[in-house]
């Protein structure tokens, strides 16, 4: 086996050093009845490396992908451009094959990258601090709710119905194992009605969770909610799904969020059928010690030189065990390095262009829609809901588009189970060209 360095001669010599006569003796502490016959597991035959390449190439070719199709899909996962340098950097063994930087003297590369990541995420979200990642947006949202409960010592969580249904269901699922109330506020439309959300706040409320831009892509002013949260002394938690928005529109921090969580997948990470992505967690400085997950902090070494370490670990499970702020241990470390590389390569200007092009593509599409299709009203970043007369009309269009190598949107009910079957969640990024929009519109006309 090409991954195993020993020859049988090595093995024999080592067994001798140990003082056992064969490999089986090394397993004599496992009761005999549990030993399985070698080679008896129902697993495929060993493949050569060339065989592996062939197997996965074959599997890959069964999937349509963004190099041979046009994607108008969002809902939490976006096809933004990933510069080649990002993949190169995270492919370097020094980043790729390192462990969590528990030995800081020989992990300063990972640590400085994390510190830079935290700084840039804080700046982009307009928040004071960022941790060093969560799994993805839904679990980050759940953790935000839990943190808000710790901070406020109150237990009720109010969730706007315009938050991505997947973030809602994971949060509800996490909370349902613990005491305390969880209330979802039905919006009654494909957008956010802050009045309804505010009406749901009471004195037991630990936090209100909204999404901005919301699940349907709509952008709105959070000031009324901020005021209501202040009045009720609860936290305002803002979730987001495509962080590129904040290079263009006001950040959650500027809108007054206490905690902002969401996905960093748009920052140089391929869609990858949903993972690994990057969960982001940011908050105000004053809540820092209730934040879940690892953080990297600045310090100095024995010679007084600047360096970085993982810090505030007394919040974490290896010290605090069941009193930890979270059970998260492995996080999405490498994706932080990817996002840091991506943001460095882009800068304000590049990120701004990504956001402008993403929004401009949606605007171009929506403003040219034919009469038989309607789009949700109001301000939208790069995502909206298109509505057809009925499910037949929508599905006819979806099928025609797919035949022209266009994935035209996600049937809304695929994510929001209760939705009726005539809606399409449509997203655009800078990877959508004017020609793609023209094709999209042409198919809409033809498949009416």
């Amino acid at each position: 086996m090409r991954f195993l360095p020993h020859t049988d001669t090595d093995r024999t010599a080592m067994l001798e050093t140990i003082g056992v006569s064969n490999m089986a003796e090394l397993f004599s502490d496992i009761p005999g009845e549990f030993h399985i016959e070698k080679g008896s597991l129902e697993i495929a035959d060993a493949l050569s490396e060339a065989g592996i390449v062939r197997k996965f190439t074959k599997a890959s070719e069964k999937n349509r992908n963004a190099t041979n199709s046009r994607y108008f899909l969002g809902g939490g996962t976006y096809h933004h451009f990933v510069p080649a340098v990002v993949d190169y950097i995270i492919s370097r063994g020094e980043f790729l094959t390192a462990y969590t930087p528990y030995q800081p003297e020989i992990s300063q590369g990972t640590l400085q990258a994390l510190f830079e990541f935290q700084t840039m995420i804080a700046r982009l979200t307009g928040m004071d601090v960022s941790n060093a990642s969560m799994y993805e947006a839904a679990t980050a949202t759940a953790e935000a709710a839990l943190m808000a409960r710790r901070v406020t010592r109150k237990s009720r969580v109010v969730m706007a119905g315009s938050v991505n249904p997947r973030y809602r269901s994971v949060t509800a699922n996490y909370l349902s194992r613990l005491d305390g109330e969880y209330a979802e506020v039905d919006m009654g439309r494909h957008g956010t009605d802050l009045d309804k959300v505010i009406a749901a706040i009471d004195e037991k409320t630990a936090c209100v969770i909204v999404q901005y831009p919301d699940f349907y892509g709509s952008v709105y002013d959070l000031a009324p909610l901020r005021a209501a949260c202040d009045a009720a002394r609860c936290l305002m938690v803002v979730a987001f799904s495509d962080i590129s928005a904040f290079a263009l529109i006001e950040s959650p921090g500027a809108m007054g969020a206490d905690i902002a969580v969401g996905s960093g997948q748009s920052l140089g990470i391929p869609m990858g059928f949903g993972g690994p992505h990057l969960g982001l967690f940011t908050c105000k400085q004053k809540y820092l010690r209730q934040m879940p997950g690892r953080v990297c902090g600045l310090t100095s070494d024995a010679d007084g030189k600047r360096g970085f370490v993982l810090t505030l670990s007394t919040r974490e499970q290896h010290i605090r065990r069941e009193k930890a702020t979270s059970n998260i241990c492995s996080n999405q470390g490498l994706m932080c390095t990817a996002a840091a590389t991506y943001m460095t390569q882009m800068g304000d200007a590049g990120l701004g262009t990504v956001a402008r092009h993403s929004a401009a593509a949606l605007h171009s599409l929506v403003s040219q829609l034919p009469g038989h299709v309607t789009a949700a009203h109001g301000a939208h970043y790069n995502e909206t809901v298109l509505s057809f007369a009925d499910q037949q009309a929508r599905d006819r269009f979806l099928k025609a588009a797919q035949e022209s190598d266009i994935f035209a949107g996600i049937p809304l009910e695929q994510i929001e189970t209760a939705a009726d079957g005539r809606h399409l969640l449509v997203a655009t990024t800078e990877m959508v060209e004017e020609a793609d929009i023209n094709d999209y519109l042409a198919i809409l006309e033809v498949a009416k």
């Binding site: 493949l47 070719e61 069964k62 020094e94 700084t119 679990t139 304000d348």
Partner: protein
């Protein structure tokens, strides 16, 4: 070379990167929300970006640059072909919500991996949703809780956790709305049956155990342990962090474990990436199968599909189908060994750990006698006499060219040093590491301990002040 922080690079950002897409108008409604102040992300040109991160990378130790014997972390070689196949466009650039008939290839790989993990663990029903080991613990405990509730045993909320357990075990139990009781380990570092019996009662939901345990010892009473827990009406959760010792040789499911998470970034060699991403699939037996999270990957006829509707499920634990890229690599690792060679993973891993143990056992204190499995546990007891602690030994190893072992864990011994060499290390490397350890032992005995207290001297940074970092946390660079 001192590479500055990004934010210290002495210039404005150069001209914007040229990007594709629609360079057109945005809506007036959206314009009203325009960001007023720039985020101040310091864009660098591509040459500077690459040089910055390449230089940072040079300050890291990784599996590719040297030995990395972190106990309980299973730092094995990460095959390069796995990095190649995971980047195939049909695996990297696909959306979780694209039509399933356009994603059968990736679903096949996931379905196959589920099957294989079921085979390896002896627990045939598998969810790929959990994103990491601790996340798998949570999902597993959710299932256990659901099963007990379904039995009308909703008073069972107590989780027994040996004092040698990983810290995530109690943290996950707490997150699942359960409380933990710590079991004191026996004199041999293993679970003490009397201690276990004393805590089993009708409030007991589960025992969470790691086998081999974090002292590297196989819990030989495993059958009786599981029987006792089951007889008391509880279930047994297996922490699969140490599965590398068993893969292809013995199966937790056969021993009575009801539920096991599998750290694919350990056993199946997906790269650790400086702290993730990992993957924590959970394998369960028939008892717990109804409660598996959704979405599940199921085969209907010739078509694979993600199923979300299921009344008995504990629900979703993640917002996406899972860490797919990580699982593609795990599938590739298993494919390379295949049926014929899979057991060699455990064999060589255990061989290597015992070899290190036997080369060091006369010079370092071994708290628990006997065979070890994939990792071996030493302490600093002998070196303490010379004023040298585990931390000193660890830092000195850095100067000698090695990543230290896991230190001060497990908590059941004083000054723990937990060494896990994995199957992908050569005898030559193990010998070099043991020689370094013996050199340190020699230095202690000779009273030549200055280098030990001062270490590390060679890397780019010396010992870092963790107290300073925690006391006044600076987590972001000021503008």
């Amino acid at each position: 070379h001192e590479e500055p922080l990004l934010f210290e690079h002495a210039h404005e950002a150069p001209e914007s990167i040229n990007l594709p897409g629609v360079d057109g108008e945005i809506s007036a409604e959206l314009s009203a929300f325009s960001r007023k102040q720039a985020a101040n992300i310091p864009g660098l040109s591509e040459p500077e970006t690459v040089r910055h991160f390449v230089r940072l990378s040079q300050w890291n130790h990784g599996i590719e640059t040297g030995f990395y014997p972190l106990g309980s972390c299973t730092m094995k070689y990460n095959p390069r072909v796995n990095e190649q196949v995971v980047r195939l466009p049909g695996l990297a650039h696909i959306h979780p919500d694209q039509p399933e008939d356009t994603a059968q290839g990736v679903l096949e790989l996931m379905y196959e991996l589920q099957d294989w993990l079921g085979e390896v663990s002896g627990l045939p029903h598998v969810t790929l949703q959990p994103a990491a080991g601790a996340h798998g613990e949570l999902a597993g405990l959710m299932m256990i809780k659901a099963a007990l509730d379904a039995r009308g045993q909703s008073q069972r909320r107590k989780v027994l956790v040996p004092d040698s357990a990983h810290g995530t075990n109690p943290a996950s139990a707490a997150l699942c709305g359960m409380h933990t009781v710590e079991l004191k380990s026996g004199a041999d570092g293993r679970i003490d049956l009397d201690e276990l019996k004393a805590h089993l009662d009708d409030e007991t939901a589960a025992l969470m155990m790691t086998n081999p345990n974090t002292a590297g010892a196989f819990e030989s009473d495993i059958k009786e342990i599981c029987q006792l827990v089951h007889d008391a009406g509880g279930l047994v959760y297996g922490d699969g962090a140490n599965l590398n010792a068993l893969v292809g040789v013995a199966r937790p499911g056969d021993m009575g474990i009801d539920c096991l998470h599998i750290n694919v970034h350990k056993t199946f060699s997906t790269p650790h990436g400086g702290g993730g991403p990992g993957g924590g699939p959970v394998a369960v037996n028939d008892t717990l199968a109804p409660y598996l999270p959704v979405p599940r990957i199921e085969k209907h006829g010739d078509t694979l599909t993600l199923v979300n509707a299921c009344d008995t499920s504990v629900g979703p634990v993640l917002g996406t189908p899972g860490q797919i890229g990580v699982y593609i690599r795990a599938n590739a690792y298993i494919s390379a060994f295949g049926r014929q060679h899979l057991h060699k993973i455990a064999e060589d891993a255990v061989l290597n750990a015992n070899y290190v143990l036997h080369r060091l056992k006369d010079r370092y204190h071994v708290p628990f006698e006997g065979l070890c499995k994939h990792e071996c546990l030493l302490t600093d007891e002998i070196q303490n006499k010379h004023g040298v602690k585990t931390l000193d030994i660890a830092k000195r190893l850095i100067d000698l060219g090695f990543h230290p072992m896991t230190v001060y864990f497990p908590l059941i011994v004083h000054g723990a040093m937990l060494i896990e060499p994995t199957e992908t290390e050569s005898r030559e490397t193990l010998d070099a590491f043991c020689d370094a350890m013996l050199e340190i032992a020699d230095a202690c005995e000779a009273g030549d301990t200055e280098a030990l207290h001062e270490a590390p001297l060679k890397p780019f940074r010396r010992r870092l002040d963790e107290t300073q970092a925690a006391r006044k946390p600076v987590l972001v660079w000021p503008e």
